[in-house]
Subunit: 431 residues, 2 copies
Amino acid sequence: MSQRPRVVILGAGFGGVNAAKVLGGCAADVVLVDKTNHHLFQPLLYQVATAALAPSDIATATRVVLRHCKNVTVLMGEAVGIDPDAREVRLEDGARLRYDYLVVAIGSAYSFFGHDDWARHVHVLKTLDDALKIRSALLAAFELAERCEDKAEIAPLMTFVVVGGGPTGVELAGTIAELSRTTLARDFRTIEPRSAHIVLCEAGPRILPSFPPAQSDYALRALQNLGVDVRVGAKVGAIDAGSIQIGAERLQSSVVVWCAGTAAHPASKWLGATAASNGAVRVGPDCALPGRPEIFVIGDVASFDGADGRPLPGLAPVAKQQGLFVGRLLRARIDGRPGPKRFRYRDYGMMAIIGRSRAVAQLFGLRMSGFVAWLAWSLIHLMLLVDFRSRLTVYVNWSWAWFTYGRGARLLTHAPRWIARARGKARRDAA
Amino acid sequence: MSQRPRVVILGAGFGGVNAAKVLGGCAADVVLVDKTNHHLFQPLLYQVATAALAPSDIATATRVVLRHCKNVTVLMGEAVGIDPDAREVRLEDGARLRYDYLVVAIGSAYSFFGHDDWARHVHVLKTLDDALKIRSALLAAFELAERCEDKAEIAPLMTFVVVGGGPTGVELAGTIAELSRTTLARDFRTIEPRSAHIVLCEAGPRILPSFPPAQSDYALRALQNLGVDVRVGAKVGAIDAGSIQIGAERLQSSVVVWCAGTAAHPASKWLGATAASNGAVRVGPDCALPGRPEIFVIGDVASFDGADGRPLPGLAPVAKQQGLFVGRLLRARIDGRPGPKRFRYRDYGMMAIIGRSRAVAQLFGLRMSGFVAWLAWSLIHLMLLVDFRSRLTVYVNWSWAWFTYGRGARLLTHAPRWIARARGKARRDAA
């Protein structure tokens, strides 16, 4: 039997994959476990949901990403528990994975503020499957509306609600508006796709609350110019099949996407660890679990206090930098060298895109709005994507589609059953 | 109310879409009905099934294809019956579509020679959804094998059977072999993807029975060089979950793809029409139903006697040419001009590809094998695809992936539930 230490990494997101990359070629056996077979470039997932990109444009088989790390084994599977005393991870089929070091990087889920029944009626946007379901739901709504004989059914079908005014909600609402205003505009004979009603609702006083107020104002106006009905201070009261209560109004809507309220994966319970208010595992300055120096928790599932004393946000760069840090730390420890002791987040800034040529950004301390911010967004994502895929052709394709307003990924897969259900639902709502 | 005649076209395959294109701008209202929202380039569907192409590479929204035909309305829906006396089509939701002229182009289904229970255990390859299910099944088999603790479970998981030695079966078996021999070869740590067992079985005495015997021999040797276990004169006796009886042997197999036995869509019953042995509707020399000059039946669902007295094969070029013919005939009739009276099929030849650089072809009377045939295949599909998509970038992307042996579409979507089921099944088989 091998006397090499065994590192188990849970999750193939930005945290897990970067940790595994750093550990490639070191004197340890590394096992990376993920529910899916691919590493996902999540910042562009909303573009798959709105038919601008194909799934394979933003996802790569995890095995391909880690092909050259011969000491890394990738397993497709789902962790369902951790036994910290036995140093074992339990998988969904009952198998147990022994570890010497464990890196927990399994991300976050959505929180419905105690209304878990809402989950049945809304879409979320975490995985490729989620994005494909939203894409099918949006495209099917237009297809169903085109067939409506009762004109009163059309407006509810063509009403789309995005809940949550953070970057994802803003990007999604803006892109759905463009889908209806440009891509689909000429392709229907009975309905007018431009008349689709897109609602973005945010419970707080302004959208993009993590940005400065001036940028929130800019984003609000840019969305309104795209025809998005932005509602701030608008609390969601109830959601059922086909309708949503926003403030005092009951709105009929065929597609509701939930981009509000993120909760960490409930791994804190598995670990018996102290959790922050959002359920994330509180970790020490080296990303390790207090009292368990062999267990590291990184990315969205971790609560790490930043330089200002507040927990770091649940963003891809945080997960990526923590993954690289833990990889280096473990590599040093396995080699018996002194390693880094303390994780420090380098905050390069944040960005949100609002449609084709508008964005807000804070980069290296600079605040930008409008076309300049959009250009910065595009260049940075170009670099990240090329790094991610090493394939310039993907970006060429994407730019082409982006600039011509065409969307090559307008495909309704798994449609027949879906559309039948949707139709039944539309009828029940109408009754 | 409009006094313009109304043409209803059922099916957005090569027949239906080409008929609609010809009718674009004429003095009639045209309604095209299809179950899906896209027109599919079916000759390359096997490449989606084997992760070489993404769905959006070979499918385009039907609305986009017919965008400039302002008199054509596209409806996503499913025809469930025809009432020829009332001149109405019934749709799945009870709606009725009145027509003055009807074009039936709804293609074919698979026939299991009376063993309809086999359908539950095999994959077929007609739609994008079918192709995505095969892709997930193949990729998941390797993922499950990599996790097997009991080494005896690995061989059944990595055994793939293709039933039917026609062009689709040959192309699919060859590409699955390449998937395991090249694309996946370096990416696993426990299993050896090259050891996957790919079986192609054909009940007749040789594969590619519609080609000359010398080309069948060439294809057989080319497949054997790729490591495909080709079995001719091999009848399938039974299929259940996880195994298939081929001749006297019972073979454990995780994925069986059925490419044998095509049957026409049962539209002949709706029409009360005379059917050929495969269920296709027998039509006259103008593709019209005898006694019903307003109903045309084209493509795989039609049985049309060719110049040699035998029915034309169920191929894309036949459907396309018949669609163009019926479009021209109807256009002339609507304009009150004399139109074409008799459909004549121009047979440019046929081709089958066997892996990366081998093919057999008969083009313009010439017989080709090997690299020359493969080059011809590539150039012809380049022209057809560019015509189809008007997007050279797709082909650039595709060539790139093809020549580098990489496959960008190695994505397991809808995986977690699937893999759980597959695992349960694998366990039951082992028990």
